[in-house]
């Protein structure tokens, strides 16, 4: 299959063009060695199909960041698996000069090229007229196509151009990558760029006539007066953040509840239908809840990327970066880190996926590493339970509720710790050779193209379900197995030792079933593990029952509540934590001291604020960093923080 490479500066409408050409038939692949994804799609004419590869948007074929290296690496090596037979270079017609740099670099290699003059509508609005015939005389070996990818103009001409050039016997296929300058020879690259602009200046003077004074900038600069205003700019931005947070947090909870209920019912139904046995249990208790545990995140991911897509498409995201950069820089973060971090306060999974907009790898990685410290919504059930249990419900200073204050404190703890950890990473762990580059184009404001937003949501959801989903499913099955099996027949013996009530009273029967479940869990491998770690967690004020709940909540933090309920055989009819709180209050050590005191409760709160107890986040971090190294480092450092924090809290309050 012939390969067509799609190249172009950022903000040229390149992705609109790619979406127009390939529609929903897109795939995501890997470029070796970089974290940027390879977007692939097919284009069919009759019997023939060509593959379209969307390369990352760059200003030059010479890389200025790690992710941009892929363009150079592919172009410089005709034997590369992704080496294109034909290059389609998308050029912003309203900014011909800067855009022609990349085009001439590719054109001069002798590769067959199509020059797509996109955004010609913007150009004419700005008062530029481009003489295409004249442009053709400067680049005789290329096919020039005018297009407006936003509305789909010029797509037919582009397809025809691709078709005619992908014929094998095209006349000017003699690309010669030996002309390329070495990737690290910055001096030669600077000289080459200067020479090219000398040439391009003349071409532009020859082909572009400027009719009138530009007008379209006025709209953008009027908006910018408000949106980057020293006070209003932040007010507007924080309002936007609040809307995003509220949407991801509240609006997503409805479909999440449906998914939750749907899978619970599916599980019940399959239990009823299938014959009893190991395989049915694997299906009903392991696989179905595991899949449910993956799908439950779709509403949050979908909504967040819908909103981020709008911010990106309109050009507002670039302004966010612009006004937040100075504030985030001391922590080694980027203006673009703000949206992922705030999103992580709803859920770290879409938050981590949203770091892709950060170009600098260092800043992106730092954002990914600290994002799960933000208090996500899965911590809320744990916080609610523990605060209700150990923090007195009283007013301080007459108007502040102490419980509410502690909850706020936990959110603040997450944010402050995230920033401090980012600072530590910046100070001690970064390679100082890589400097942080800002240099960002502020695109003109425009209405979002909904098809692009929709495709972005679709891609992100697909990526999560199929890539991270596998890992989440695997871990949930392992956790299920650990909690469902024990050595020899210990679990059965423990279950049998629970005295069966003689009455048919449903209350007694439910209590009996709960006790059997508790006995089984305590004698499962998970129970044994819980006991095994007791010496380790004792200095934190925990007993082995809490240990079991800590282990099971690795699947997801909120599982902590359910596990405690199972262990203490408290029947949970609804989300109301009161019966469990009552039960936990009465839990005493053999010495008569209560197990859940202020000290052990606060210690648990701190532990949950810091610990990386979310396999889904780990799976997503693995997906985004393309290596197990970073999720494991994250698991490690957050574990150490959690242990030390909980230890200090317990020892101080004991």
């Amino acid at each position: 299959m012939k390969k067509v490479g799609l190249f172009g500066n950022p903000n040229t409408g390149k992705s609109s063009l790619f979406n127009r050409l390939t529609g929903l038939k897109q795939r995501v692949g890997n470029f070796p060695g970089v974290t940027v994804d390879k977007q692939l799609g097919n284009l069919k004419f009759g019997n023939e199909t060509v593959q379209i590869i969307d390369f990352p948007g760059t200003y030059s074929i010479y890389p200025r960041s790690k992710d941009e290296q892929v363009v150079y690496k592919v172009i410089s090596n005709p034997k590369h698996a992704d080496y294109p037979d034909l290059a389609v270079v998308v050029v912003d017609a309203s900014n011909l000069e800067r855009n022609l740099l990349l085009f001439t670099q590719i054109y001069d290699l002798g590769m067959p090229t199509v020059l797509v003059l996109n955004l010609t509508d913007v150009a004419s609005k700005n008062g530029f007229v481009i003489n295409i015939d004249q442009l053709q005389t400067h680049f005789p070996n290329t096919i020039i196509v005018r297009s407006n990818a936003r509305v789909g103009l010029g797509m037919k001409e582009l397809q025809e151009a691709i078709k005619s050039l992908s014929d094998s016997n095209n006349p000017f296929h003699h690309s010669d990558p030996s002309e390329l300058i070495a990737m690290d020879d910055l001096i030669a690259q600077s000289a080459d760029t200067t020479d090219r602009f000398d040439r391009i200046k003349q071409i532009v003077a020859d082909v572009v006539t400027k009719k009138e004074n530009p007008v379209s900038h006025q709209f953008s600069s009027k908006l910018d007066r408000w949106l980057v205003h020293p006070i209003l700019g932040y007010v507007i931005f924080f309002s936007v953040l609040l809307i995003i947070f509220q949407t991801v947090f509240s609006l997503a909870s409805y479909p999440m509840d449906w998914i939750d209920m749907g899978f619970a019912q599916l599980s019940e139904w399959t239990t009823a239908v299938l014959p009893e046995g190991l395989l049915s249990r694997l299906l009903t208790e392991g696989i179905i809840p595991g899949i449910g545990g993956v799908l439950i995140f779709i509403p949050q991911i979908g909504l967040l990327f819908f909103l981020i897509g709008i911010l990106e498409e309109t050009g507002y995201m670039a302004r966010v970066v612009f006004i937040m950069d100075k504030l985030m820089r001391p922590f080694g973060l980027n203006g673009k880190s703000v949206v992922p971090l705030i999103s992580s306060a709803a859920c770290a999974i879409p938050g981590v996926m949203a770091t892709r907009t950060i170009q600098s790898w260092n800043e992106r990685l730092t954002t990914i590493l600290v994002a799960p410290l933000m208090s996500c919504s899965a911590r809320i059930p744990v916080y609610t339970l523990l605060i209700g249990l150990v923090i007195p419900d009283q007013q301080i200073w007459g108007f502040l509720n102490l419980q509410g204050l502690v909850l706020f404190g936990l959110y603040a703890l997450g944010l402050v710790t995230a920033l401090l950890v980012a600072l530590v990473i910046k100070q001690f762990f970064r390679k100082s050779t890589e400097r942080s580059v800002f240099l960002l184009e502020l695109p003109a404001y425009k209405a979002p193209r909904w098809a692009n937003v929709g495709l972005e949501v679709f891609q992100k959801v697909k990526l999560f379900v199929f890539d991270a989903g596998k890992i989440i499913l695997a871990i949930s099955i392992i956790l299920w197995a650990l909690a469902s099996f024990g050595p020899s027949d210990d679990m059965e013996k423990a279950a049998a030792s629970v005295i069966k009530p003689t009455t048919e009273n449903p209350v007694d029967l439910t209590a009996y079933e709960d006790q059997v479940a508790a006995a089984k869990l305590q004698h499962s491998y998970m129970g044994i593990l819980g006991r095994a770690i007791e010496p380790v967690i004792k200095p934190l004020g925990y007993d082995w029952k809490m240990g079991i709940s800590l282990l099971t909540s690795f699947a997801a933090r909120e599982v902590f509540v359910g596990s405690l309920a199972t262990i203490y055989s408290v029947h949970q009819e609804s989300d109301d934590p009161k019966p469990l709180i009552e039960r936990l209050r009465n839990e005493k050590y053999a010495s008569g001291k209560p197990v859940y005191t202020l000290a052990s409760g606060v210690s648990l709160l701190v532990f949950y604020a810091f610990a990386m107890q979310c396999m889904a986040t780990l799976a997503v971090v693995k997906r985004e960093t393309k290596s197990w190294k970073w999720p494991l480092i994250q698991l490690g450092y957050m574990g150490v923080l959690a242990y030390l924090g909980a230890f200090i809290a317990y020892q101080l309050l004991k």
Binding site: N95, F197, D224, V228, A318
Partner: protein
């Protein structure tokens, strides 16, 4: 850090150079300025590629709330950059 005398000399030269030369970081708002060169640094090719070559006329459109970064009009498109990046762009104010 371990400075060799050469590094030190280089640094001193740089400091004097920056003190004497006017850069885009010091340009006035909305004032049209001509770029006279880009200081040698690993950012030089990147700045050139963004269209900041010698002879280009640019002006600062607005600054971020804390004065940094700045937004620069480069021949019809808006480029934002941090002050430390702008300080690599040498300019001559156009009167």
């Amino acid at each position: 850090m371990n400075f060799t005398s050469f590094d030190l000399l280089l640094r001193v030269t740089q400091v004097i150079y920056i003190a004497v030369m006017k850069t885009l970081a010091q340009a006035k708002l909305h004032k049209r300025t001509i770029i006279t060169g880009i200081a040698d640094s690993d950012l030089k090719p990147k700045l050139l590629e963004m269209g900041l070559y010698t002879g280009k006329v640019v002006s600062i459109l607005f600054r971020a709330p804390f004065g940094d970064p700045i937004a620069v009009d480069v021949d019809g498109y808006v480029l934002s950059m941090r002050l430390n990046e702008a300080s690599l762009v040498q300019i001559e104010e156009n009167n």
